[in-house]
């Protein structure tokens, strides 16, 4: 197949599925066709990809963050970020931006500027978020790989709800941009197969000298037989029976493969005290992002510039923490993280649900229908199992192990130690060999074969 043929096929599929799935918010198909005609090199030369409308930049590509004000001014990147450059160097051809909730801060993908992205497995349901358009594009078979980013669960949650493999790398393992420093946000990809995630991990990992946040060296692995602890529910976000069952069945499979399973987890995982300090970090992050938006627009922000959901967060970010409060909050989070990680001296992997519930309906996740407050509560609950590891900086992967009685995917999360991505990828590969999830396709994808 030529690069042009691959890109043409992907565009055809994207267009066929646009009305039903609505994965791509900013198509740049003409640009993609032009790039496909150039002399591409790299291990993935000619493979089409979509980039989440957040963080990653490639010169000439729009970046709206699903925000109406940025869309109105036609914001376009003037440069490549590290991640964007590396994707180019690997030979990927960008088809456009995939949809995401505005500013990437909801666990559903139905921004006002782009409408609802539907879950390919059930078009009335949400793909979660924030890398929701990317998940929909891969699950519907438009592209095999899509860029994604995760600051609280935004790779793992959509992977879980669409039946994909979603690895959130360790903090600092891959430079996220030339200058952005984020304690919690990391970038990677969503894939159907573990081997794709593994290949991309090996190709993309690496930081740049001068980066403030760095991932430690990989842990030396001593045994084939891993010690795995399981937590199937947290008291502050009790998991549904479906989601607990997925964890149990994953545990049984892993035990049958010879791994050691124990029903136990880190005490720190079930705690909520650290969330106060996490709130200071989050408000700081939002305030900084709103500052950047105001600077980009050259004026103060108004409620017309964003959705009510984001505006409620903007208003809360008016009370800016002091610098010393931030440093103390980071100290508190660090102490909690170090305590969390002591559990991993006796275990290799923690196995948990990704989310307390299977895919929710798009109506249930619509701020206009349920109200901003109710949606914020739901979003908070969705992130309970995933977000702790954005703060500890650990790698975590969502693998599509379970299925609801309606045939909807359910993910389980496996968590390792900083630098330990390959351990998680190997375990995921063992599960994939048994469960063969890449062979399962949603009906909407089958219709357009």
């Amino acid at each position: 197949m030529s690069a042009r043929e691959a890109v043409t096929a992907a565009i055809a599929r994207a267009e066929a599925l646009q009305d039903s799935v609505n994965a791509i918010s900013i198509p740049t198909y003409d640009l993609a066709r032009t790039i496909a005609e150039t002399n591409l090199s790299g291990p993935f030369a000619g493979v089409p990809i979509v980039l989440k409308d957040q963080l990653v930049e490639q010169q000439g590509l729009p970046l709206h963050q699903s925000n109406v004000a940025l869309k109105r001014i036609g914001a376009v990147s003037q440069r490549d970020t590290d991640f964007g450059r590396r994707l180019r160097e690997l030979g990927f051809v960008t088809l456009g931006r995939s949809s995401a909730p505005e500013f990437g801060i909801q666990t559903t993908t139905q921004p006002k500027v782009n409408g609802r992205t539907a879950n390919p497995w059930d078009l009335t349901r949400s793909v979660s978020g924030s890398s929701g358009g990317s998940a929909a594009a891969v699950a519907a078979g438009i592209v095999p790989i899509a860029h994604a980013a995760d600051g609280g669960g935004s790779i793992r949650l959509p992977a879980a709800w669409t039946g994909l493999v979603g690895l959130k790398p360790s903090r600092g393992a891959i430079s996220i941009a030339p200058e952005v420093v984020s304690l919690t946000a990391v970038e990677f990809v969503l894939t159907r197969t573990v081997r794709d995630s593994r290949a991309l991990w090996l190709a993309l990992r690496g930081d740049t000298e001068g980066d403030i946040l760095r991932a430690p060296a990989p842990p030396s692995r001593t045994a084939e037989r891993l010690r795995i602890g399981i937590v199937d529910s947290l008291t502050h976000a009790p998991a549904t029976a479906d989601c607990r069952d997925a964890v149990t069945s994953a545990a049984h499979l892993l035990e049958a493969m010879g791994h050691h399973i124990e029903v136990t987890g880190p005490q720190a995982y079930g705690e909520t005290d650290w969330l106060r300090a996490a709130g200071i970090v989050a408000v700081t992050d939002f305030a900084g992002r709103f500052d950047s938006l105001a600077a980009r627009l050259g004026r103060a922000l108004t409620s017309e510039d964003m959705e009510p959901y984001a505006w409620s967060i903007f208003e809360a970010a008016h009370h800016r923490p002091t610098g010393e409060a931030l440093l103390a909050a980071l100290g508190e989070i660090q102490a909690w993280s170090i305590r969390m990680l002591t559990w991993w001296t006796d275990f290799d992997v923690l196995l948990t649900p990704v989310c307390f519930e299977p895919p929710a309906s798009l109506d249930e996740m619509d701020a206009e229908l349920v109200g901003v407050e109710a949606l914020r509560t739901r979003v908070g609950l969705h992130c309970r199992y995933t977000q702790p590891f954005n703060f500890t900086g650990q790698p975590a992967i969502s693998v599509p192990v379970g299925v609801t009685s309606d045939g909807l995917p359910i993910g389980v999360q496996m968590v390792g130690t900083p630098g330990g991505e390959l351990v998680l990828l190997e375990l995921a590969a063992e599960l994939e060999a048994v469960l063969a999830w890449p062979e399962r396709w949603p009906a909407v994808a089958e219709q357009h074969q």
């Binding site: 952005v180 001068g210 760095r214 408000v283 630098g419």
Partner: protein, 469 residues
């Protein structure tokens, strides 16, 4: 027994391990030295000799430094029974710690026996050590001069022969500067390698200490280097040293400051020694590391860190700091203007990162190590660096200039090693600095060791004529 000051930590540990000296004898010898010299040097903030003597009886003989007495800087590390007062008058009578911090425990596990805490300027802000809380710490090479700061008490204690190793930390030069001015070996590891662990996350600060030999620095580094999993700043992977001939950039001038002749001469002398060892020396400029383009960001980060430490002190006191708790400069810094808010600190981190990436962009193509002076000038007198009400921020400005070759590497997160050089024409020692890429502490130490074995380092003994010694 050899003369006490002849022992580095490695030799002392060896003497104890082979039974030529007991841990108790080592501690007693150290106490005798302290008692003889402390009236002149004034480097102790707190001493607990009884606890040290008790520890000497119970120390695990299989620990690598079993029985070797040390001091802890009065900043950034805690062991049971000792106060951490940050050189602050208001904290001088707070209660002693009831637990060991992570690094405090690690030092105990290594077998080190703590005699007490060493002085630092208040909040470790300055390049001289004359805290109102404890008095003026003297340089053992010339008592009217400063040993530097902020790990000044640690430096004076090791140079004066109290102990072969003292803990220190370096957020802008605070290990390397006093090492340079007292003729010691001072390692600042990569960011995150040995994190401070007192509840404040600090972009620039790394702990280690001051040594009497490079072999000590290497052995102690191997013992202490393990970043805890879960730290905000993960340490870069340790890159093994190569025995190849290296390409070393040589810096003898600074884009914004004059460098005094003895400091330039020390670099040239050391460059000659490195050339003799077979390395390739290349003249280069310091421009990529000049901090002018990010002065605002550096200031925001430093002020937030100072305020965070002050908040920590308030937590210890259980009340707000009052004017007579702190020195005039500190009061001024805390009250002259509101500190940066949290988004400003993150924006500053981002700006510093962008600068660091660009400063390091061509490093590995150009050289393996960089050789620079430690400071622009040899140690000034304590009087010259005293607080002057007519120019209340004068000390801070002098400190910034003293750290001109040092602070950039706290911002890039690179490891750097201060080594004692020959200092013709100066009454106090002069140091040089070797800098490597993040993660390359082992290369710094290997090259330092080559120089040490070749006899190119000037780890002398202050004569201390007329003192208790």
């Amino acid at each position: 027994m050899r003369d006490w000051i002849e022992y580095d930590a490695t030799a002392l540990a060896e003497a104890i391990r082979t039974g030529r000296m007991s841990p108790r004898e080592a501690v007693v010898a150290a106490i005798a030295r302290v008692e003889a010299l402390e009236p002149d040097l004034r480097c102790l903030a707190q001493a607990d000799f009884e606890a040290a003597l008790a520890s000497a009886e119970t120390v695990d003989p299989s620990a690598p430094f079993a029985g070797v007495p040390i001091l802890l800087k009065d900043y950034g590390v805690v062991q049971i029974g000792l106060r951490q007062t940050l050189g602050m008058r208001g904290l001088a009578h707070t209660r002693a710690a009831t637990g060991d911090s992570r690094l405090g425990a690690k030092l105990k596990q290594a077998g080190f026996i703590t005699l007490g805490t060493a002085t630092c300027p208040e909040l470790s802000l300055l390049s001289s050590t004359q805290p109102a809380a404890y008095g003026i710490t003297a340089n053992p090479w010339a008592l009217s001069h400063t040993p530097g700061g902020s790990s000044g008490g640690s430096a004076a204690a090791v140079a004066g022969g109290y102990v072969p190793f003292a803990h220190g930390n370096d957020g802008g030069g605070s290990i390397r500067l006093p090492a340079g001015w007292t003729g010691l070996v001072g390692l600042k590891p990569s960011r995150g390698r040995i994190g401070s662990d007192d509840g404040v996350v600090d972009l620039t600060l790394t702990d280690f200490g001051l040594c009497r030999s490079v072999r000590d620095a290497a052995a102690i580094f191997n013992t202490l280097a393990d970043a805890p999993a879960g730290a905000v700043f993960g340490a870069p992977a340790r890159t093994p040293a190569t025995s190849d001939r290296l390409r070393i950039g040589v810096v003898t001038s600074h884009p914004d400051h004059e460098v005094a002749a003895p400091c330039r001469a020390a670099v040239e002398e050391m460059a000659g020694a490195l050339r003799t060892l077979g390395h390739t020396l290349v003249e280069t400029g310091f421009e990529p590391f000049a901090l002018n383009p990010i002065a605002d960001a550096v200031s925001a980060v430093v002020i937030a860190q100072i305020r965070a430490k002050a908040s920590w002190a308030e937590g210890q006191l259980g009340r707000r700091l009052a004017e007579d708790d702190v020195e005039p400069l500190t009061w001024l810094l805390l009250n002259a203007a509101p500190g940066p808010d949290a988004p400003a600190v993150m924006a500053a981190w981002s700006k510093i990162q962008a600068w660091a990436r660009s400063a390091l962009a061509n490093w590995s193509k150009s050289f393996d190590l960089l050789l620079t002076p430690v400071t622009l000038e040899p140690a000034p007198s304590n009087e010259a660096l005293a607080f002057n009400p007519a120019e209340p921020v004068g000390q801070a400005l002098r400190t910034a200039a003293h750290c001109a070759f040092l602070q950039p590497f706290n911002l890039t997160g690179q490891p750097a090693l201060a080594l004692p050089a020959r200092a013709d024409g100066a009454i106090t020692p002069v140091g040089v600095q070797l800098v490597a890429l993040p993660g390359c502490e082992d290369q710094l130490l290997a090259t330092g060791l080559q120089l040490e074995v070749a006899g190119a380092l000037e780890i002398g003994r202050p004569s201390l004529v007329g003192l208790g010694a």
